[in-house]
Every structure is written in C-alpha cells, then in structure tokens.
C-alpha cells in the first residue's frame, strides 16, 4: 500500500515536470514568433533614400514630348496640365503622356526582376489629395526605400512619392 502511494507521488511529480517543460517550450516558441513579427513590422517602415530623392528631383525637370508654345513641357508642369485637363499642342491627353513618360523613365532607371536586387517599385502622384497617377510594378516586399517630394503652384499642391522594393 505504502509502496503504491510512493509510486503514485513519483509519477505525479514526473508528469508535472513534463508539463512544466512543455509550457517552457511553448512560451519560448511564442516568444520567437513575437520577435520575428516585431522585426518584420519594423522593416516595413522603410528607409528614406537620398538617391530616390535625387531621382524624383531629376525626373521632374525632364522635358516630355508634350509640347506647348514654349517647347517640350517639363514633367513638373505636365502634372498641373494633367490635373487641369489641358491637352498637348498635338491634341494628345497630357495625363496619357505623363503616364507613358514616367513608365518608361522608371523602367529604365529602376530595372527590377527576380534576379535583380530590386523586386518592384511604386510611383504615386497626388494633387490636392487626389491620386492622378499610380504606377505599380513587380512585387512589394517588406524591405523598401523611398522618398517624397511636394511642391506647390498656387492654389494646387502636388505630392510625388516613389518607393523601390528590395530583396
């Protein structure tokens, strides 16, 4: 009888040990998942990039083939023409020219693909809180660099932002 009681206590203690070990392992796994999710969430904030800032500044000066009476219109001015619905001298829609030009510029400047470090990009132009152009190419990863530039020709304000997504 005494022998049986001793064996029961021993068994119960062993079970408790196993239970404790399982809890420790369970908590450790949860902690690990939390760490991974926390760090992934941090990466999503991205890094402000000087290179992208220069890219935006430079393409805003680019003279497109949409002509007015002074010659090829700069991208910066074409954004306002697009917003106001003004056409080019040859009758083309200024928004179409803007989209086509920026598509080609970004494709040449930020080549992307599975074998390249850049996996995709997005370019957004917002005037007076309304998106007039959005170019989205490739995959959007958690690791990205970006920059934003805003400027005003009263009363309109424009916000140009670009993000490059990396491996």
């Amino acid at each position: 009888m005494k022998k049986n009681r001793g064996r029961d206590i021993g068994k119960r203690a062993q079970e408790e040990m196993v239970g404790f070990a399982l809890i420790v392992i369970f908590v450790a796994i949860i902690l690990l998942f939390l760490v991974v999710f926390y760090l992934r969430g941090q990466d999503r904030e991205g890094i402000e990039s000087y290179e992208i800032n220069s890219f935006i500044q430079s393409f805003l000066h680019y003279n497109t083939d949409c002509e007015d009476y002074f010659g090829g219109v700069e991208v910066r001015k074409l954004i306002f023409k697009c917003d106001d619905g003004i056409q080019c001298l040859d009758g083309r829609n200024s928004c179409d020219v803007l989209e086509e030009t920026l598509k080609e510029i970004t494709r040449e400047s930020w080549p992307f693909g599975p074998e390249r470090p850049i996996k995709g990009y997005e370019l957004k132009i917002i005037t007076n809180n309304k998106e007039i152009l959005g170019l989205y190419e490739g995959n959007q990863t958690n690791n990205f660099r970006g920059a934003m530039q805003d400027f005003t020709i009263a009363p309109d304000s424009v916000e140009v932002s670009f993000r490059a997504y990396y491996d």
């Binding site: 420790v24 000087y50 000066h61 680019y62």
Partner: protein, 180 residues
C-alpha cells in the same frame, strides 16, 4: 528498498534541475536574441544610411559644383541638374584644367551617363556627335563608382528659337583607385 526510493528521489531532483536549467537557458537565449536583433537591425540601418549618404554627398557636391551645375541658366534655379554644354566644354579642356588645378575634386573619375531617353546610350560624346550621344567621360575612371540621378540639361535650337532640353542621367564618381 529505502535505497531504491532514495535513488529515485535523487533522479527526480536531477531531472527537475535539468529542466530548470534548460528553461532558464532558453529564456536567456531568446531574451538575448531579441535584444541583439533589435540592436543590430538598428545599427545595420544606420550604417547603410550613413554609407549611402556619404557616397551621395560626394556625388551631389560634384554635381552642384560651378563646373557642372545648371544654376539659373534654365529658367529657375535647379538642384541635381548638370549643364551638358558645360560638361562638354570641361571634357574638351580637362588637360588644361588638370594642369591648373590638379585633381581638384579628389576623385579618380567622373562620368555622366544618359538614362532616358535611351537613344545613343552607349555612344561616347565628342565635339563631332554631341548631343546625339549618351556618355560624357570627363576623365578616366578607376576605383569604386558611386552614382546619383541628375537632370542633364542643354540649350537646343529649333524652329528659330532656343529651348531648354532636360533629360534624365546619372553622374558616376569613381574614387579609391590605386594610382591616386
């Protein structure tokens, strides 16, 4: 019998201690890992940012120097803008310029490469083919190249009047070459 019971008890105690040790070790390992990952991810970000910033500052300094910068020549004042006509004049007189100022910028090579439009992208510019070309090598390149985007602007005559023509380019600065 008593000895057997004592042995079992001792075994249990050892097991208990082993579990505790594993648990405590695991806890410290994860806590350390968590801390290290946060610290190193911040350091990595800061290092990447600083490296990029330093390299691009060097390029920007050069692009905005009077020898290259557009200044007010194309309407309003433009930053990140290179006057292609100035760059061509500098390229053609670089030996004279080197004699006067030595390696004024302290770099081992400067090149301007047109990104868009892509016509003539691989053709080196000289006084014969300019502006129908895509590369202006100011002086020979060696070492590590750092690049940044710029607007490459020039004056172009068409239909009896002169208009500004800006294209997208990259200025590539080489530094850290052996023959410095």
């Amino acid at each position: 019998m008593v000895r057997k019971m004592k042995n079992k008890k001792a075994q249990m105690k050892i097991q208990q201690m082993a579990f505790m040790l594993i648990a405590v070790t695991l806890f410290f390992v994860f806590a350390g890992l968590f801390f290290a990952m946060i610290v190193f991810s911040d350091i990595r970000k800061a290092a990447e940012g600083l490296e990029e910033r330093n390299a691009l500052l060097l390029v920007s300094k050069l692009a905005n120097s009077p020898e290259f910068a557009c200044g007010n020549a194309f309407g309003s004042f433009k930053t990140s803008c290179i006057d292609a006509d100035k760059a061509m004049a500098l390229k053609n007189n670089i030996e004279l310029y080197k004699d006067l100022k030595g390696n004024f910028w302290g770099v081992d090579g400067v090149e301007i490469k047109k990104i868009y439009p892509t016509d003539y992208a691989e053709i080196e510019c000289d006084s014969g083919n300019y502006p129908e070309c895509g590369k202006i090598t100011i002086f020979q390149k060696q070492g590590i190249g750092v690049s940044n985007f710029v607007a490459l602007c020039r004056k172009e005559g068409s239909g009896g009047f002169i208009e500004d023509k800006c294209e997208l380019a990259k200025i590539i600065v080489y530094y850290g070459g052996d023959n410095n």
